[in-house]
């Protein structure tokens, strides 16, 4: 792997940028792998890297039907945070934040981690109660989550200007200082480059169409580029979980729903923090490094694989933003897009073995960009050892059988 540094940049600048190496290979599929990972998003590519680095398993292929990060990894709004409610969630999400802060060095790839902090407005006593409960769980695990008065909100966010007669007045806020924004494409590319350097084959334009099984265990995957034998098969295909699991005869407790985002034209820096207007449909906004105001909301209210969203959501959330930040009224919207979430029934991710031996599932759930490094690391552990990592012992499919759910839906937002 050609290492990136200020010196390699200078050297290549002096030689006209003609000597940069290809970032990863595009090999033909081998006949057989120890592990085939389905899905070339952050979760799949990350799992491949951790398999190679932490477990010495390098005869691995990542099979992606489109291009790397072209699923939800390249579509999300880049927010990473750990404000959750349950004891099974907080340490997992905290671990992910820790990993995000060290990954750029490990991968030798700039992930542009930007620690903006997140401010969630409190507009009702119900929200206040839940946020306080969250804060208590988070404090147990050393995660900072603190109340913030309106005077501090005004100081940090000078353009905050809600009307006096707001229907649900903002009484205060709660703040997670360590919530950050991370460049999403870089996460996919950084993992891909580092995994490739350790011998992982990345097979783009390769779609899995079937999962072969014998005697209750997997034997390989059928693809548009032929059959690939595999000792183990692991899927991380956010938005297509049911479709791919069905190929192995597994039914999952998920529903696929669109999630949308839209951005304004770029403007000069006016907003540092990530803002959540919880009581208005979970609307959230932030200003990207490019200067665009990025807006998002909860998932669309019905299942869809269309990868496009419904208009009332855009109207609702934009209205919420304009009520609190009336000065954005003159901004023009530039772009809008949607991705697909595999929403689990309790709102928590699934990282699990299945009834098919050697077939593992990672369902990112409602907001799986923030979990990418922790999910990838624990998924690799599960694939290598056939046993869950301590952080994900309670996030397996068996929780739907035992009734020990990890309810986060309705409490935490999607981003």
């Amino acid at each position: 792997m050609q290492r990136y540094s200020i010196f390699s940049l200078a050297r290549n600048a002096l030689t006209g940028h003609k000597n940069w190496q290809q970032v990863w290979r595009s090999p033909s599929p081998k006949k057989e792998y120890d592990v085939v990972i389905i899905g070339g998003g952050g979760h799949g590519l990350g799992a491949a890297w951790y398999l190679a680095r932490d477990h010495g398993i390098t005869n691995v292929a990542v099979v992606e039907k489109g291009w790397l990060g072209g699923g939800n990894t390249g579509r999300n709004t880049m927010t990473v945070r750990s404000n959750f409610l349950r004891e099974a969630s907080v340490p997992f999400h905290e671990k992910s934040l820790d990993l995000y802060h060290e990954l750029a060095k490990d991968l030798n790839y700039n992930l542009m981690v930007s620690e903006r902090g997140m401010i969630t407005f409190i507009q009702s006593s119900a929200v206040n109660r839940v946020q306080m409960q969250m804060a208590n769980t988070m404090h147990i695990y050393g995660a900072k989550y603190r109340m913030m008065g309106l005077d501090e909100v005004r100081r940090r966010v000078p353009i905050f200007d809600p009307p006096d007669d707001m229907r649900l007045p903002i009484h205060g806020a709660i703040h997670q200082p360590r919530a950050s924004m991370v460049r999403h494409d870089a996460v996919a590319w950084g993992f891909a480059r580092a995994a490739d350097a350790r011998g992982v084959d990345i097979l783009q334009q390769t779609e899995v169409t079937g999962i072969a099984r014998e005697n209750g265990g997997v034997t390989g995957v059928q693809t548009n580029r032929g059959f690939i034998k595999a000792k183990k098969v692991a899927m991380a295909v956010a938005g297509h979980g049911s479709v791919v699991a069905d190929m192995a005869g597994i039914r999952l407790p998920i529903v696929t729903q669109p999630l949308q985002a839209w951005v304004s034209e770029p403007i000069k820096p006016v907003l540092n923090e990530i803002i959540v207007i919880r009581s208005y449909h979970g609307t959230y906004l932030m200003q990207s490094d490019k200067g665009e105001i990025v807006i998002g909301q909860g998932a669309d209210p019905y299942p869809s694989y269309a990868q496009r969203g419904t208009i009332p959501i855009i109207e609702d959330a934009t209205a919420a933003v304009l009520e609190v930040f009336p000065s954005f009224e003159r901004l023009k919207l530039l772009r809008h897009w949607a991705g697909m979430l595999d929403m689990t029934f309790d709102g928590s991710p699934i990282i699990s073995k299945t009834d098919v031996k050697g077939f593992y599932v990672d369902v990112a759930g409602s907001g799986g960009f923030k979990t990418t490094p922790a999910a990838a690391k624990t998924f690799a552990h599960l694939i290598a050892n056939d046993e869950p990592h301590v952080l994900t012992g309670e996030l397996g499919l068996d929780r739907f059988h035992s009734g020990r759910l990890v309810p986060e839906g309705g409490v935490s937002a999607n981003h």
């Binding site: 297509h240 979980g241 049911s242 479709v243 039914r251 999952l252 407790p253 998920i254 529903v255 696929t256 209210p301 019905y302 299942p303 869809s304 694989y305 269309a306 419904t310 208009i311 009332p312 029934f345 739907f400 059988h401």
Partner: protein, 84 residues
């Protein structure tokens, strides 16, 4: 924006309606002979169909009728139940 055909009111915009779920799910009829696996499958697992799906919808902001339509979850094409 979906235009959803309510059998009583005709086509209306989607935000008058509430999605009521997959109409193909069947509750086990006899609890005494239903295994835990079957209950778990009924309560949590879903068909999550990619393609044509038979669904319940509720005209909550209109006549309040519950009815079924077939909706393609990829193209969003809708067929009213009466046309089938």
């Amino acid at each position: 924006m979906l235009l959803i055909p309510c059998p009583f009111c005709g086509e209306r915009e989607e935000d008058e309606f509430v999605f009521g779920g997959d109409a193909k799910r069947e509750r086990p009829t006899d609890p005494t002979s239903t295994s835990t696996e079957q209950w778990v499958d009924y309560v949590y697992n879903s068909n999550n169909t990619k393609g044509e799906s038979l669904e319940w919808w509720w005209h909550a902001q209109g006549c309040t009728k519950w009815f079924r339509i077939t909706r393609n979850t990829v193209t969003h094409a809708i067929t009213p139940e009466s046309d089938r």
